[in-house]
């Protein structure tokens, strides 16, 4: 990640309604955030004269607008790291979704898994390593094609924890 790339990113975020962005590529992670618009709940109309309260409310609705125009930020919430588990490859090898070429896949998108459920095989040097789930939940994404080589720590599955 070079400095120019970083500067460009900052500019994009400054001029956008995004308040936070996290990018991961080639093992490097960068997280940028800017102050959010002031939270309005702190202003209690009851503590101020009626006229002032009206003014505040107007200001509030004016301020609220940009906040409401940030659906991209809101959508991210159900996919925060807390409820999504990423299963990574513990080794370099080849990813297999089934125990044998004609056999059914261990899991598919939508499969419910629990700790110890076998998710796939990583084969290296004719050693078949069963990769087990460490969490309970639902498979929401399979990130690697069957019979493809994988690197150490490469994400393989996304599991929505239950």
């Amino acid at each position: 990640m070079d400095l120019n790339y970083l500067k460009k990113l900052i500019k994009i975020i400054d001029t956008s309604s995004i308040s936070e962005i996290e990018i991961e590529e080639e093992g490097k992670r960068i997280k940028l955030s800017k102050p959010r618009p002031k939270v309005l709940a702190n202003v209690s109309p009851l503590n101020v004269p009626l006229s002032a309260a009206t003014a505040v409310n107007e200001e509030a609705s004016a301020l609220r607008k940009p906040a409401e125009e940030k659906p991209s930020e809101e959508i991210i919430i159900p996919f925060t790291k807390e409820n999504i588990a990423e299963v990574k490859s513990p080794m370099v090898g080849t990813f297999y979704r089934a125990p044998a070429p004609e056999a059914d896949a261990y899991v598919n998108v939508g499969s419910i898994v629990s700790p110890g459920s076998i998710l796939c095989i990583i084969e290296a040097m004719k050693l078949m390593n069963e990769i087990e789930s460490e969490v309970s939940g639902k498979i929401i994404k399979i990130l690697v094609e069957n019979a493809q080589p994988v690197e150490y720590n490469q994400p393989l599955f996304l599991i929505e924890k239950s």
């Binding site: 080849t94 044998a100 290296a124 040097m125 004719k126 050693l127 078949m128 390593n129 493809q148």
Partner: protein
Amino acid sequence: MNIESLNNNLVKENLLSRIVFLDEVDSTNKFASVNYAELPHDTLIITEFQKMGKGRFERKWESSKGTNLMFTLLKELKIDIDKIHNVIFYTSYMLFNTLKEILDDTLGKNLLLKWPNDVLLNRKKTAGILLEVKNLKQPVKLFIIGIGLNVNETDFQSDNIVSATSLKKETGKEFSREDILEKFIINFYKNYNLLKESDKLIDEWKKNSFGIDEKISFSQYEDDKEKSGYIKDIDHDGAIMIRFDDGSVKKFYSGEIKIKY
């Protein structure tokens, strides 16, 4: 198969905890993989006839009933995850040494290891090994070590006639399967130190390996296109280095090497 003598020499000597003899089974590895929770470690599963080869790589292990050795050893080993491939090099090297003891000196010289898991006699495959690992993230892992060795087989199908062989086919002699199995188990259980010395293991393995600087073809995964090249080296981490015909050198942790006959 004389199970009595195996019991006397391996179980009573406290090497194995139990021998499970199956007249017929799909595959001894599959049996072990399904039943491992009920079987004590150091169990040896042996069969006279395997109805199917084990899945992905062992295609179909050709076998007439009662002529070959097909067995699986359940072995718990404390080994780090980045060293587990040593178990495959160790197993094939112990099998190689066992066959060397059994064959006379002249023929013994024609034995070679082939990356990562085969034993060749006169450049033809006589044994194959397939390993599965359970409890990968635990310090003590369970290894399901499956071995198929062509001993007294003489009936080879035409598509395998070039690349597969048996001890009998190459020597004209019958061999005692019990004797080979016993010697292998003893070798396996008595040389653990080598399993801990990664670099030494790979170096010794490499000295007896087929094909450094030999012309081969290589495919990295199922359905991958075969590319021809030369074996350049085997790294201390177990990976194979291949120099392809376009001059590029690449390192692989999985794949299939084909000998050019």
